[in-house]
Amino acid sequence: MRAVPYESYLRTRRIPHIWCPGCGHGIVLKAMVRAIDQLGWKKDEIAMVSGIGCSGRAPGYVDFNTLHTTHGRAIAFATGLKLANPSLKVIVVTGDGDGIAIGGNHMIHAARRNLDLNVVLFNNFIYGMTGGQVSPTTPLGCSATTAPFGNYEHPFNIAELVAAAGGNFVARGTVYQPVELEKLLLKAFEKKGFSFVEAMSPCPTAYGRRNKLKGPVAMMVDLKERSVPLARAKNLAEPELEGKIVTGVLLDRDKEEYTEIYRKLTARLGGA
């Protein structure tokens, strides 16, 4: 693996972090830092924005311009930040509860606008920070503190939802495949327009131990066994894909980006 000077990106005085042993969020953050390093982005030009939950703490640990907002609203704050200063590279970090339950409306509208945001959603299938309540991605039948008899709601397929809403780039990876995850993040960050990466990340504390995945290793094995690369998934019938995690680039296109369209408008009106 390519050597990356992690310490220059980390706020080492803010560490140890709050994430539990076996949590995958550190792996996602590491893959993000590696992708940023490869792109050569300067720390001063990066803004990392998050909402509430375990994922929401990620920006506090990295030496960028960092903004930890209210629950579900990271994308809306990031929209203002990006529009007021389009030269900022804006990365939004969110979770399945933060990003697609309370923040779902902002997610689909940001995708629709195709604003140049880079959204990374840490999907751990549960509300981790509040102690394991059912989330919009908790699989049907799985247990949660607010689904003690098994979840009786169907989960979202987040990546497909975002791809349908608009945007230029949608991908899904897991922390079991960190090299691939880094590549997906690199493509997402490079892409102009709205890009979205769903990163599957285990939560042994709040999810695994309630769902017969007793420990981080069992959760990693589960991610490995459930992952199917997109190329292979295309040859599988729908019943065979039940419960699987399809990984890879799900959407990659070049619709005109929001700030570009707006810049043309202001130029036409003489306001630029």
């Binding site: 311009n65 903004l67 609203r73 929209t79 007021a84 509208h109 306001g271």
Partner: protein, 380 residues
């Protein structure tokens, strides 16, 4: 505009005046969501902002609009949103975020009557207390309230000024009468050369403390992207901006936030006192009710009744001492409000039981008429 030359009067609504003032104050970002009776502010800014090189965006909801405004302010823009009661309710959590992160921004609330959807198209002053205590936790509040179109312009300018100086959200409370009435107004823009740049760093990045709990006003909020790489969070935080669970720090921070406005009362206190020296009956009114009060006062004076008016332009912080002084010779104080007495509580606090308070309230969506108030005055 050339200095010393008075601009020609214009005919426009209060909502339009707010939009023009925002541009003249240097605001270059608006995020909003359609809501009666404030929508003309968004409509006017959708014309003015792109022409001025600024950003206009209609967001997917009220919460998103407030959040985007704060994000834009952190990027360095003077930013505003406009709404009415239900939208103001939705924005409250984000307003609290702006309070605790000390991000300057302006929220215009063209009030309606509530609760809930209430009376969208009729005049009311339903959100006076929501402007003070709408968001959870102890927090500072600055709110201004114009009575006419030209003042809607002036107070919008002031709202931006207070907000930038104190690094806190400022609320412009209007009512439907002031928002929608079309009247003559002379709009005097500020001299842009004298507008201070309150975002300019005063210390190098390594010494920058975005949340220093000392001094008259907070240090500048340096825009993201200028090499200062600090952290902004809605969690209680230390002076570097990083979260802190230290109870002593939390106590200091919340007190600092509240004291920040108290310490700067002289900057933000703004009121009008008309014929209060000999007034036996002191009217207390703001917004459209102050127009009624002035008309009734004029009629009463012509009948030989000694009636005066105290009118706060800045509602929060409330001008307790100034009102007490104005009421010291009065026999009775008469608050006039288009709600069931939201500010009358504060009036009672200000006069401390030394003067009886006999209010006139209206909540049916009709403005108080001058003769109605005159009759009331005759009865007190």
């Amino acid at each position: 505009m050339e200095t010393g030359k008075r601009p020609a009067p214009r005919l426009l609504t209060g909502n339009e005046a707010v939009a023009h003032a925002a541009i003249d104050a240097g605001a270059r970002f608006f995020a909003g969501y359609p809501i009666t009776p404030s929508s003309e502010i968004a409509e006017t800014l959708s014309v003015l902002l792109p022409k001025a090189g600024g950003v206009f965006i209609q967001m997917e909801d009220e919460i998103a609009a407030m959040s985007a405004v704060i994000g834009a302010a952190i990027a360095g823009a003077k930013a505003l949103t406009a709404t009415s009661g239900p939208g103001f309710s939705l924005k409250q959590e984000a307003i609290g975020f702006a309070c605790v992160t000390e991000v300057p921004c302006v929220i215009v609330n063209v009030m309606r009557g509530g609760p809930s959807t209430g009376l969208p198209t009729l005049p009311a002053q339903g959100d006076v207390m929501q402007a003070r205590w709408g968001t959870h936790g102890d927090h500072p509040a600055v709110a201004v309230c114009p009575e006419r179109v030209s003042e809607a312009y002036d107070l919008t300018l002031k709202a931006f000024d207070y907000s930038e100086r104190l690094r806190t959200p400022v609320i412009l409370l209007m009512d439907e009468v002031v928002g929608h009435v079309t009247e003559k107004a002379v709009l005097v823009p500020p001299d842009s050369a004298t507008l201070p740049d309150l975002r300019k760093p005063v210390s190098p990045p390594e010494e920058y403390r975005p949340y220093r709990y000392s001094g008259q006003v907070p240090p500048p909020l340096v825009p993201f992207g200028q090499g200062y790489r600090y952290h902004v969070t809605g969690l209680l935080h230390d002076e570097t901006g990083f979260p802190s669970n230290d109870t002593g720090n939390a106590d200091r921070q919340v007190r600092w936030l509240m004291d920040k406005v108290e310490r700067n009362r002289r900057l933000v206190t703004d009121f009008e006192a008309v014929d209060v020296e000999d007034a036996e009956v002191l009217l207390f009114a703001y917004g459209a009710c102050a127009r009624t009060a002035k008309a009734a006062m004029h009629m009463a004076r012509s009948q030989g009744r000694k009636v005066g008016l105290f009118r706060p332009r800045t509602i929060w912080p409330f001008p307790y001492e100034e009102l007490a002084l104005a009421a010291r010779n009065a026999r009775v104080v008469v608050p006039v409000e288009m709600n069931l007495g939201q500010l009358s509580y504060e009036v009672s606090l200000a006069v401390c039981g030394k003067v009886p308070v006999k209010p006139l309230f209206k909540v049916g969506g009709e403005a108080v008429a001058p003769d109605e108030l005159l009759t009331f005055i005759e009865g007190v």
